[in-house]
Amino acid sequence: MQGRPQATSHPPERSLPPKLEVNLHVNGVEHRVFLRPWTTLLDALRENLDLTGTKKGCDHGQCGACTVLINGRRVLSCLTLAVMKDGAKITTIEGLAQNGELHQLQTAFIAHDGFQCGYCTPGQICSAVGLIAEGRAKTSDEIRELMSGNICRCGCYPNILAAIEAVMQGAQT
């Protein structure tokens, strides 16, 4: 059409690197997806697998909202390339409930009012699952320190701490 720039005025199109086959084992289910190298695990979970429980907060590793467990260890999915986790076992907030029963940390967060807006909560709970599995936090100070990678802008920290302590003491009420 007239008035539009000629196609030749654009720089030549670069061909994108090919999509790579990636096998993601998420919450016990194997997914075969084809992804560009730069797709983060966070984006793959949310955009390719429709698992939107894992939240994108800062997308720069500063808030912890995107925390998931990879082979049982808590990590930040926003700073993880999905292609690098081919074959790894990934657990997200959607995978914590078993047989229709909430995970005890999920129950404890409800019982102790461990959230207000709820946006950081999936990351908080996945991080707490990792914390308890690590077994290094014994005191309240240690739980606070080892949960410091999860920011809660509603400021629910006292109740988050109470929920985690309750589960650690096996007395969630």
Partner: protein, 338 residues
């Protein structure tokens, strides 16, 4: 983020051959800093070489009574390894003072050494920065420079190295083992990072075609008298305004060996041998520690927003040395400074 392609390396030789073939390639391990910088368009590699499959994830005893830490050992595994907590608690403490559990689970030993400054102007591509874009100027010198250097800076760059782990490695006289197609070499941790001078775009003395394979800790451990004291704007999950790794050997009240390294104040962990030497033979008391602090901070010059760091550093050095002398190292979970 610009588009890039992705390949895996099978072993060290393969990784070196691949990095030599592709000029704009970078190695990736934990990715905690690199991916962030790529999202900001500060780093723009056109190829990532995944080295996480390399067999560099173990800690071995050395023949001289030290430890050799594989470059891919995650920061958390290193910090909690019993050989480190028992024999090199200063290193464990410093690692646990940095980042968050999630980041420590991801970040590798070699990657921690290679992390780049968190200077605001390095990250913000709308501002000048000689480290990011040589010749463009320094946005920090006249800007918001609270987190910037007071020692060793140059007219072209006032950035600081952000690592806590590297401050302890410097104090412990660790050695960085690297390989290239030409062979292997060892770099003292104190020589690994460099001062900015006129080429602030170069952070370290690692060549582009080299890879870090291990970090070696010598036999001197300072397990009894040590402290890592980190002062920051938020009590956890924040970079240091000033940090101090202090290590002493004391016999009958007198100091026989001293190490002091500062973080958050310069382009590299800051050590002043003359200050350490001044402590040898002295009683482990505040007077000696104050004199050493004066020597360390000779020539310190701050900027509009960070001049307070000179006095902060002076007090932190004295306090960390007192903690080390008393055998009461700073806790990284109970944040009260005693």
């Amino acid at each position: 983020m610009i588009d890039f392609d992705y390949v895996r390396a099978n072993d060290v030789g393969d990784a070196l051959s691949q990095i030599t073939k592709h000029q704009a390639a970078k190695f990736i391990a934990g990715g905690t800093n690199l991916i962030d910088l790529m999202k900001e368009d500060v780093e723009q590699p056109t190829r990532l070489i995944d080295i996480t499959g390399l067999p560099l994830n173990e800690i071995h005893e050395t023949q001289t009574g030290g430890l050799k830490i594989g470059a891919l050992v995650p920061n958390s595994d290193l910090a909690y390894d019993e050989r480190i907590t028992q024999r090199y608690p200063l290193l464990s403490s410093a690692i646990l003072a940095g980042a968050s559990p999630q980041l420590r689970n991801m970040a590798s030993t070699g990657g921690n050494l290679l992390q780049r400054t968190r200077c605001l102007y390095f990250y913000d591509t709308a501002t000048p920065c000689n480290k990011r874009s040589p010749g463009s100027g320094c946005g920090a010198a006249e800007g918001f420079n609270r987190m910037n250097a007071i020692l060793g800076w140059s007219k072209s760059c006032i950035a600081v190295h952000p690592s806590d782990m590297c401050v302890a490695l410097s104090a412990l006289d660790a050695v960085v083992h690297v390989s290239s197609a030409k062979g292997d070499r060892a770099i003292n941790s104190t020589d690994f990072h460099r001062l900015p001078g006129d080429t602030p775009e170069i952070d370290t003395n690692l060549a582009r075609d080299e890879i870090i394979t291990a970090v070696e800790l010598p036999s001197e451990k300072f397990a009894r008298h040590y402290s890592y004291l980190k002062i920051r704007d938020r009590l956890s999950y924040a970079f240091a305004l000033v940090s101090v790794a202090a290590a002493l050997k004391i016999e009958e009240g007198a100091i026989t060996c001293a190490r002091v390294a500062l973080g958050g104040v310069a382009h590299k962990p800051w050590r002043v041998p003359a200050a350490e030497q001044s402590l040898v033979g002295e009683l482990a008391d505040r007077k000696a520690f104050s004199s050493a602090a004066d020597i360390i901070l000779q020539g310190a010059i701050g900027f509009a927003h960070n001049r307070f760091k000179i006095e902060l550093a002076r007090r932190a050095i004295v306090r960390a040395l007192e903690q080390a002398a008393a055998g009461t190292p700073q806790s990284q979970s109970v944040k009260v400074i005693v």
